[in-house]
């Protein structure tokens, strides 16, 4: 590693550590890191701002913004609140049935919506049920932990569910259908194993339950949603737009040059244009500027490090580790999962994809990319802070101020989540490794 590579790599690492340590200032930290990277690149002759920005995968950002806006409009139809209510009724407010249905529902929703939105639309109803029915600390932790991991797995199941897969799609590393065909069964298997593991731990064994509390839960929920109706006028066209996007992603020949980002842009635009007034307001208020700026800064920093050739050398170094080729690949996946656990999915995926592209010359590319997406998904589940959905869930739970049988406040934080996170990490990483080894065999 030469001096320039070491400087930019160190700057990237320090920025990532600082943003993880000081999450309340993370945007300022990564933007400062990106500015310093650009300054360093200009002074060291690596290239000016124009060259650095030319390396930013803008189409990935377009997909994230367009799908985020589309999701917002879909949530405005009240579909998810009513669907969650139907789940509670289906489970008849019984804790274990509710846990299973909520997990499956979260997985399914996360496949098409971003993880933050999936939680924002499912958790309010679930937390209301927890408040009405009453839950134990143990049940709360396992239920919410399982839902968080299901959210990550659902996000990794499709090329549009979460950032790592969107990056693969946007950079053209994989086609939509290929990713879906390979990642979906693997994430479903991981979810199945995880649910089985959680059920064996009997999370609901301390939950107090009485016919009256179940009756009150269902009756109160019915009143809370007594006249809430689906906005069919918005939902119908939104679903049509979604079907159109899916069809375009799956069927349009690459030779036509219609990039997946353009499909997302058109689909998102259609959902906004259906009701121009509301669409304009959504456009002005609902773009996740924080996530956008964060990812842009990361892309800039990773791009500068790439210009130094460090990632190519790291991949070459990995291939020189005295292990059989499969062992090298497993080492890469484990490292990817652990790095994601520490630095979160965005930074890890952005940096590791550069290494994966080199490894993809030695191994079947799809196996490497899907393995990486699954390993990043495993890492996202390790700690509550590893994925953006974690802190969101923590704050929603804090806001709900749930209490246990003895009146004490129920907690869901970093420490409480650790057990679930470890289980989710191990199961998902094991599935990622086994799947990748089978694919390269």
């Amino acid at each position: 590693m030469n001096g320039i590579s070491a400087f930019f790599a160190l700057l990237l690492m320090l920025t990532l550590v600082a943003q993880a340590a000081l999450p309340s200032h993370r945007l300022l930290i990564v933007l400062s890191g990106a500015a310093l990277s650009c300054l360093g690149a200009a002074l060291s002759g690596l290239g000016g701002l124009e060259r650095v920005f030319a390396g930013v995968p803008w189409n990935v950002l377009v997909i994230l913004v367009a799908l985020g806006l589309f999701t917002r409009r879909l949530a405005d139809t009240r579909l998810f609140g009513l669907a969650s209510l139907a789940l509670v009724r289906l489970a008849r407010a019984r804790p274990l049935a509710l846990l299973l249905l909520a997990t499956l529902c979260t997985y399914a929703v996360s496949m098409v919506l971003n993880n933050l939105t999936a939680l924002l639309v499912i958790l309010p109803v679930l937390l209301a049920v927890f408040a009405l029915a009453g839950v134990s600390q143990r049940f709360l932790v396992w239920a919410l932990g399982l839902i968080l991991v299901a959210c990550n797995l659902g996000g990794a199941a499709t090329p549009i569910g979460d950032f790592p897969a969107v990056l693969l799609l946007g950079r053209g590393a994989m086609e939509f259908a290929d990713y879906l065909r390979q990642a979906f069964p693997a994430t479903l298997a991981a979810l199945g194993l995880l649910v089985l593991g959680v059920l064996l731990l009997r999370p609901a064994r301390e939950v107090p339950a009485s016919p009256l509390s179940r009756r009150l839960t269902l009756a109160t929920l019915a009143r809370l949603y007594r006249s809430t109706r689906l906005d069919w006028g918005l939902l119908g066209p939104c679903l049509l737009a979604m079907l159109g996007m899916m069809a375009a992603w799956l069927l349009l020949p690459p030779a036509w040059g219609i990039d997946p980002a353009l499909v997302a842009w058109l689909g998102g635009g259609l959902a906004l244009a259906l009701r121009p007034g509301e669409g304009e307001r959504t456009l002005k208020r609902s773009i996740d500027t924080e996530a956008l700026m964060f990812l842009l800064a990361l892309f800039v920093m990773v791009g500068v490090v790439r210009e130094t050739g460090l990632f190519t050398r790291l991949a070459a170094g990995l291939l020189e580790v005295p292990l059989p080729p499969q062992g090298q690949l497993v080492l890469f996946l484990v490292a990817a999962a652990l790095l994601t656990g520490l630095f979160s999915a965005g930074p890890s995926m952005a940096a590791l994809l550069e290494v994966a592209e080199v490894l993809a010359r030695q191994f079947p590319p799809d196996a490497v990319y899907v393995g990486l997406a699954l390993a990043v998904c495993a890492g996202s589940s390790l700690f509550l802070t590893a994925a953006t959905a974690g802190p969101l869930m923590q704050s929603l739970v804090e806001r709900a101020a749930l209490r246990g049988v003895n009146g004490s406040r129920l907690q869901f934080g970093f420490r409480e989540y650790l057990g679930v996170g470890l289980l989710g990490f191990c199961v998902t990483l094991a599935v990622a490794i086994v799947r990748t080894l089978l694919a390269v065999r």
């Binding site: 009240r78 609140g81 309010p124 209301a128 408040a131 009405l132 029915a133 009453g134 107090p208 009485s210 016919p211 009256l212 509390s213 009756r215 009150l216 839960t217 009756a219 109160t220 009143r223 809370l224 949603y225 007594r226 006249s227 809430t228 109706r229 806001r399 709900a400 101020a401 749930l402 209490r403 246990g404 049988v405 003895n406 009146g407």
Partner: protein, 214 residues
Amino acid sequence: MSALLEQAFRLAAGELGMASAAWLFVRESAASGGATAVAQLRDALGRNWPVLDAVCAGWQGGCQAPAIDPQPLLPALQGVRQLLLVGYEADWVDALLAALPDPGLRIGLVTAGDPLADWSRMLDNHAGRIEAVDPAAFQTWAGPRSVLLSFVYGRSAQQLFVLPAWLRIAGSDVRLQFRELLGWHILAVPLLLYPRWLVATEAETFTAVPEVAA
């Protein structure tokens, strides 16, 4: 167990209103275990939730359904263009909306109350008919054809028991900015305990408080 029941009632009261939630809990308890269950509910939650206690006492005394009649309010709402609600009682608001003669009347709800309440979920039940109004901006609704309406839960001599939000909204200057400051007395049963969660205010802070049918 009563801590969990209390938590459940607080959530219901935060989004449905204390009286609506109390009637719901009493109805469901009675359907589940009859008079014994209502007595147990009163024992468990009555002390902390006086409105629930009053509703339980009323139920035990033979008043087995709330008296919800918006008719006495309607004369005061004739010709009004804007109606701003301070406080929310789901059963009473639903009845009022159904009875309003002018479908073009603009209705707002001041979003001040339990911090745990999910205001969008509450307003989704009204399909855009009620707008959320920030407490700091409620005076943008003022005008000669605007009315403020809040809920009254009981009375004692010259004082009325109302939601704390009413005291924050109904300052002496506000009286001049709205055509009417209406109080809707919604509890047909007397409050027997100290009205926790409510505040006492002079009856003169309202321009009219139509009486509820016994």
